[in-house]
């Protein structure tokens, strides 16, 4: 992720727009007692048959919104300052052009407070994990677990979207429908293999996708997009026996912007949680359509 931030800086892009890397836990440190449960932190535990990787979006809270408003106000003030400088310079150029009977240069456009944008707030609360930094790598049983310490809140499964230093953002955004769940402080929220196992991928048609390759590790990793549902498994690693663990409760989440410009799809339907009426996202528990965004 450091590479992402360096590259972002080189390209003149705000580091705030890059997904933050998850604070991944290491099983050895948990077992040795070097890493202990922080009651103020939330935790997400998940696993899958191969290397897992992707992005969660935490629904912005009041603190995020305040920070966003502050950042925007500061950026707007800077934009106004730049505009005033350009305007002064333009006035001189326009006078000179008039004296020389030439056409004046284009007048600078004042920034508009109503439409001024600093980009996506959700990019500031995005969290990326994997495919490296697995909590457990069990190749023999094809089980890779990931545990990450996160800020408590509501998390939306954005999809297997990753930053790769050699390619930029790659992956598949579930921009047209997904699920969300709560992460409480002082508790490990167990997502199990739900995100890849429960969705009925066999029922959803898709255009052929490009491979999602990440160049981490020695030989790089390919993150697989599931093509069929399998039994959901919420097994917890023995090393977390003494940590409070709660199974995640999933609800349907609406459409989302493709903030990284990657491939788009939607999480296939999940019985009892997520269904679709054409492209309308429906909460299977209530039968109500789910609005877009947060």
């Amino acid at each position: 992720m450091r590479a992402a931030l360096i590259l972002a800086a080189l390209l003149g892009v705000s580091a705030a727009a890059a997904a933050a890397p998850a604070d991944s836990l290491d099983e050895k440190k948990v077992m040795s007692g070097k890493t202990v449960l922080d009651p103020a932190s939330g935790y997400i535990l998940l696993h899958g048959p191969g290397r897992q990787g992707g992005t969660f979006i935490r629904v912005p809270d009041a603190e995020d919104l305040e920070a966003f408003r502050k950042e925007r106000a500061e950026a707007f003030a800077k934009a106004e300052k730049r505009y005033q400088k350009k305007l002064t310079s333009w006035e001189g150029e326009a006078k000179l052009a008039a004296a020389q009977k030439k056409a004046p240069p284009a007048k600078p456009v004042a920034p508009d407070e109503a439409s001024f944008s600093i980009g996506d707030i959700e990019a500031r609360t995005a969290l990326q994990f994997g495919p490296d930094f697995a909590y457990i790598k069990d190749k023999a049983n094809e089980r890779y677990s990931y545990v990450m310490a996160v800020k408590p809140g509501t998390y939306i499964w954005y999809g297997p979207v990753l930053f790769d230093p050699g390619q930029g953002f790659v992956g598949l955004c579930y921009c047209m429908g997904s699920v969300r769940f709560e992460v409480k402080p002082g508790v490990v929220t167990n997502v199990g293999n739900f995100l890849t196992a429960a969705p009925l991928a066999e029922q959803q048609k898709s255009a052929p996708l490009l491979d999602i390759r990440h160049n981490g590790g020695w030989a790089g990793f390919k993150v697989e997009v599931p093509t069929a549902s399998v039994p959901v498994d919420y097994g917890v690693p023995a090393s977390l026996d003494k940590w409070p663990v709660e199974q995640a409760v999933f609800t349907a989440s609406g459409k989302f912007n493709n903030i990284y410009g990657v491939m788009i799809s939607r999480l296939p339907p999940v019985p009892g949680v997520l269904v679709y009426d054409r492209d309308r996202v429906i909460d299977a528990k209530t039968g109500a359509a789910v609005g877009s965004g947060f």
């Binding site: 590259l7 972002a8 390209l11 892009v13 705000s14 727009a17 890059a18 912005p60 919104l65 966003f68 408003r69 925007r72 407070e113 109503a114 439409s115 001024f116 944008s117 600093i118 980009g119 996506d120 707030i121 990019a123 050699g166 390619q167 930029g168 953002f169 921009c175 047209m176 048609k205 898709s206 255009a207 052929p208 996708l209 490009l210 609406g254 459409k255 912007n257 493709n258 903030i259 990284y260 410009g261 491939m263 788009i264 799809s265 939607r266 679709y276 009426d277 054409r278 492209d279 309308r280 429906i282 209530t286 039968g287 109500a288 359509a289 789910v290 609005g291 877009s292 965004g293 947060f294």
Partner: protein, 193 residues
């Protein structure tokens, strides 16, 4: 009229109650505005080469769809495909962010995604991603896909790799795509999503 149009869209989904955040109202076009949109030529005799490039050159159509609906749909899919912020927030106001309107460029989102991808990913890959995105998005909306020859396709579509298509060209193409998507049912067989 916008209200009527929005209401008619909701009524098209019986038994579904809208629960959350506001959606942009679809833009309404008058009959004369729709009639002024040139209907692209679609009839052709496919060659083996045409058939071999249907993954690139195609159009969408859905029966019983109005021009307003089709334009809203292609605009939404175009925004998603190109990484433009489109959906508005639910309850929280995010000033200057969810300001998009149907058929307009709106606020550029995915700044880092586009910048990095343009710098590294390559134009050809980005064109592939756009095709996948349009196919998935329109497919989820229930549109069928039909193959087309390259020259006919180019008359009302655009490739987009690095950079962004000019907004006027983009909008004119989307209008024609909406005309086709809401027009007469194609005589040829639909192809796979």
């Amino acid at each position: 009229m916008r209200l009527i149009c929005a209401a008619s869209m909701l009524l098209a989904v019986p038994g579904v109650a809208m629960a959350a955040g506001p959606e942009a109202a679809p833009r309404h076009f008058t009959e004369s505005e729709v009639a002024a949109v040139e209907m692209p030529k679609l009839a052709f005799t496919p060659t083996a080469e045409d058939i071999g490039t249907y993954d690139k050159y195609y159009y969408f159509h859905r029966e019983g769809t109005s021009f307003d609906e089709a334009f809203a749909d292609v605009s939404e899919c175009d925004a998603l495909a190109s990484g433009i912020s489109y959906y508005r927030g639910g309850n929280e106001p995010y000033p200057g962010y969810y300001a998009t309107q149907y058929g307009m460029g709106g606020v550029i989102g995915g700044v880092i995604g586009e910048a990095l991808a343009d710098a590294i990913f390559g134009s050809s890959e980005r064109r592939k991603v756009r095709r996948i995105n349009m196919r998935n998005c329109m497919g989820f909306k229930g549109y069928q896909r039909y193959g087309l020859s390259k020259d006919l396709w180019q008359a009302f579509n655009f490739e987009e790799g690095n950079g962004r298509e000019d907004e006027a060209t983009r909008n004119a193409a989307l209008m024609k795509q909406a005309r086709v998507a809401s027009g007469d049912k194609p005589k040829q067989a639909a192809i796979e999503l």
